[in-house]
Each structure stands twice: as structure tokens, then as C-alpha cells.
Amino acid sequence: MRGLRKRNPRGQARAASWMILPYALHFLVFLAYPLAFTFVLVFHRWDVFTPMEWVGLANIARLVRDEWFLRAIWNTLVFVVIHIPLQLILALFFALLLNEKIRGRTFFRATYFLPVVVSGVVVSFVWLQIYSYESGLLNQLLALLGLPKLPWLTSRALAMPSIAIMATWKNVGLYIVLFLAGLQSIPSYLYEVADLDGASGWQKFRWITFPMLNPTVVLVIVLSTIGGFSLFIEPYMMTDGGPENSTLSAVLYIYRQAFDFYRMGYAATLGFAFALMVFAVVLIQRRVSEGEAA
């Protein structure tokens, strides 16, 4: 290689240019251009069908006054706060179980992963039946126990936690796989040494497993934060943002502005504001995680 570079450095550079061309084109067409176009839209009113109209900062002024968007952001934060710890704890718990040599381990691993590959629409539809007030599985179980039925999706207090539980059920398989990979990369001699020292199971988890899994924990938190902020299919399919906007997520609200009401300029403004917020949250999260690791 070294000889080749010496022989024809310009030719190599040209070949490299050709090689990066596909990605460069993809980047320009599907990332850079849409991003630039979206930024232009922030200062325009546009319904797709008629020419754009320059409105200056009107979209930003509207955003500042928009109580529903603030509500949507709050709802999304509530979802993230419920969903992430729940997902982290469950994924770690099941990964620890599935890391043991138990009978039918492969079957269980596949079963836990199954919801991840099923369409979100299908999963939402199934859970809609489970949560049904009149005839849902959960309320039938409560009735069998002599307990009153619960309005899982029609109560402001319960609707978002219900969605968070469903989203956790759907996604936990993915994070179990990540934790399993993390667990299997921990050198076994650490546990052997701990055994020789007479460490208990909890002590081994506290002082070996958990610290060694720290990079995986950070990865799971970052991924599920980004996934959590993208909450869309579940409220779109199950509650349409209700009751009383209590499950209206930021992405659902942006979608409605863009594709229900054709306010592309305003939707672009909301999108930018929300993306900046998510970026800031993930940045803070990373700083905190890195600080703790150090």
C-alpha cells in the first residue's frame, strides 16, 4: 500500500473521491438539502400546494405562544421519565436472567426480541384491545380479582403511563440484546477471583457486573432517550393525543401541523426547536454519564 501511495497519490485520491461519492450524494440529497430546506421553511408559510410566503419570524412568535406545543413537550418528558428507567431496569433484569444457563434460553431470547420486529402499528392495535375499558384483557383480570375496571387510555393520569408500559414491552428486547452482549464481554476471571474472595451474588453484581456494563448503560440510556423523544406511533394509533392532550407527544403535534393542517413552515419551526432540545438533553446526559464514569 505504501508503495502504491508513493507511486500514484493523485490517482488514489481520485479513487477515494469516487468511493465516497455515493455517500456524499446521499448526504447532500437526503440530509443536507432537507435540513437547509427545512431551515428556509422556518421563515415561510407554505401549504405545499401554493407558493411559499415570507413571514419573517411569525412562526417563531407563534411557537412561543403555542400552549399545545409546550404541553406536547411536557408529555414527551413525562413519557421519557417513565419509559427510560423502566426499560433500563427490565432490560438489565431479563438480560441477567437470560445470561444464566437455563433451559430454553434461546427460545426465551427469541421471544423477548419478537415485539421489536413486529410493526408498531400492529403492537398498538393489540394493546388497544388489551387496554379496552369494556372488554380488555387487563380489566377482565381486574374483574376476576374483584377490583374495579380502570380507564387505561381514557384517564389523563393513566393514559401516558399505559403508553409507556406498552412502549417498554415493545422495545425492551432490543436492550436485552445489548446488555447480553455487554455481559458476555465481561472477563470470567473477574468472577472467579471474586468467588475465591467469597463475594456474594449481590457483591459480584454491584462491584463487577454493573461497573463493567457502564458503557452499555450509557448506550442504552442515549438510545432510549432518542427513541423516547420520538414517541409517535403509540399515541397516534391508540389515543390520538388524548384524553385532553395528555398523550400528545411533540412528534405527533409536529406531524399534525405538517400533514393534517399543511402548515409546513410552522411544523419546520417546531421540528427545529424540538431537535435542539433533544440535542441538548442528550449532550447533558453524555456529560453526566462521562463524569460519573471518570
Binding site: G11, W18, D47, V48, F49, T50, R65, S132, Y133, E134, S135, T154, R156, D240, G241, G242, P243, E244, N245, R256, D260, F261, Y262
Partner: protein, 439 residues
Amino acid sequence: MDRAKEKHRKPLRLATSVLFAGVAIFAGGCGGRDTSGTQHPRLVYWPAANPREVELARKLVAEWNRLHPDVPVDMQPVPESQSTEEVLLTAIAGRTTPDVCSNIWPGAVAQFARAKGLVPLESFADFDSLVRARLPHGLIESYRQVDGHVYEIPWKINPVLLEYNVTMFREAGYERPPATYQEFLEAGKRITKDRDGDGVIDQWLMLVDFRVKWWLRFFDFYAFYLAASRGGLLVEDRQVLFENRAAVEVFRFFQQGFALGVFPRSTFQVDAFLLGKVASHTTGPWNIEHVERYKPPGFEYDYAPIPVPDSSCLPPVTYGDPKNIAIFTTTRWPKQAWEFVKFLVSREADLLLLELCSQLPVRKDLMRDSLYAGYFMSHPKMIAFAEAAGRTQGPGSVPELKEIFDAISHEFESCCFYAHKTPEQAVHAAAERAREILR
């Protein structure tokens, strides 16, 4: 440049040429219109995609093609999507609209017109004579857009009425549903009960689909608002008009219904009306065939006007759920398209519409024309709808209509279902949001 380098570059050049040629061909192919310069007119017609209307369209197109072999029409149901409006707006943006579509919801016409997707129909010489012959006096003015043009020909109408279970009302001591709010709710107290004695209510007065989907409000809030306000508009000249007593009374009526427990707090996965779980619900004439097909033995039902506030005494106006016909600006054959539209709204075509789809043509002489007498004789349930057809109103024509209904829908849910706001507060909040939308 030496030969070796040239040799290596040839495949790259070839690949680049192929790539650019492919892009050029693809871009050319994306035009979607026939550029062959053919002079033979050929029209594309999109009817609604439900089986009944597709059947109607198939028959009408076959008859047209038999009579006009020089202007053949290709029928294609509106492509599947969440709504026809969504499909048409996308088609307008992509310049892939048909020549004629007969599933035009007037609430979307302002948007289509703003996008310059529709042909103004008054530009055709015999437009006025067609309107005079077919439509009730002055009706066409309600379809005139702010730019002064009319882009749709009123075709069919489905007045929303109260469908009720005769037996359940009779058992409660009523021959038909009471006409005013208080009497109606009073009847609800007698009808709502635990029929099987398990301690749980299983029969209610009226089914209200309280989900926040904006279009559901046409069948509760809007139908009741039109009845209460005698056809009052929601918005006119971009001014919000619904912050008034009628809207407050409608909100209060639904709030009381849920508070009293005479409206169920559940959306059923089954047909609650046919199963006898609810004594009434609002619907249009399309439901007659469904009820006739699936009703249990001995099931008696009928139709009544929408209840009105206690102070009201005139026959109520209701939502007409109209669907109209329009010609798109992408047509290369506007004259032929207009002739086809006239064929679609002819007397004979309207009779087929009644017979095949159980939907009412917008026709001033519908109940007097001898051509339709036989149909109404054999379908007496349709008479209530035909009589109500003259007292209907469309959704209005403002591009932001969907958003305004969405705002109303959220306040409706908050006030009527959850009782978290008074009717006055909810109507005010909806009006404020509508003003913000229209700003």
C-alpha cells in the same frame, strides 16, 4: 495522459453516462402526462372507493361509453388513503389529478381552489341553466368561494338525523324521541338502566363517539349546533361566529348527558345500536341498508330530527354531509369533462344513485319528480332524509376548517366528556384557538 490511465477511466465514464442517462429518463418519466400529442379525448374519472359507489360508477361509465364512444371514460376509484382530501391534495401537488372526481367534500374545496387545482364551473355556458334546473334556489351561492368562483356541482347529500330504537323509546313511554334537550335527557333517565340485573348499567339513551377525531364532530357538535342555531355558520369572512349561545347550549347538553350517565362512557367494538345497548345515535341514510341487513328479528327503528334547545321551535337544520363533483385543471378536455359531469347529475343517474347507494341526490324536485316516486314508495325510511334534505348545511368553506374542527373537538372532549370546563369556558377557548388559527 497515458493509455493505461485512459483504459481505467473508460468504465467510470461509461458508468457515469449510464447514471446520468438513467436520471434523465427517470426525470422525464416522472412527468406523468401523455405527451404523445394524441387528439382523441379520453377522460379519467375518480368515484369514491366504497363498493356501492364503485358499482354505481361502473354502470354510469359503461352507459356513457356506450353513448359516447368518441370520448371514452376510464373509471378508477379514489386511491386508498386516510381520506379522499389527502389523496386529492397530493395529486394536485403532483399534477396527477383525474379529469373528474365525484367525491369532493366542500370543506376541502377552498384548499383545492387556493392550490389552483379546480376548474371554475361557471365558465361553462350552460352552467346557470343546469343549476336552475337541478338545485334549490340560492343553494349554489353557499358553494361560491371567496374568489367569486364556483368549483363544484352539488351532487349528493346525506342529512344527519337521529336513528332510534322504537321499542326502547316505547317502553319508556315515548312514541318518538322528544324534540328538546331537557325532554330528551329526561327520556334518557328512563331508558338508561341495568337490563340484566348484574348491577351494571347496560342500556343507554344515545351513543356519542367522544374520541377527538375532528370529523366526528360533524355527527354530534356540528349537527346539534346547526339545529340549535338554525343553520348558523362557524366562520364567515375569516371571523369566528360560533362563540354564541347556541354553541354553549350544545356543549351543555352533551355535558349533562355524560354527567347523568345517559350517554355511555365507552366506544363499543360492536354495533351498540343493533345490539340494543343504546336507544339512539346520529347517522345518515347510508345506514338504512346496514340496519336492514343486520337487524335482529323484530327490531323496530325509525328516524327523528336532531333535538334542539328548549327555547327552539322551528324545524331544525342539520349537517348535510354533502359530496360534490369537480373538474381538475389538469384536464386536457374541459368541455368533454363538463359534458360527463352533466351526465353524472342527470335524472336517470340520480335514480341509480338512490337505488344503488341509498344516498340522496341534491335535486329540488326530488320528492315531486315521478321518476323517483317508485323508489320512495319501496324505501319509506328514506323519506325522512329526503324531507330533511332541504334543511341542511355543508361544512363551510374556509381552508383551515379541519384545524378549527380539531380545536372544537378538543374543547368538546374536555368540557362534555371530562367536565373539566364549563360550556362557556370551552366555547370561548375553542373560539380563541380558531381566531389564532385564522390569524
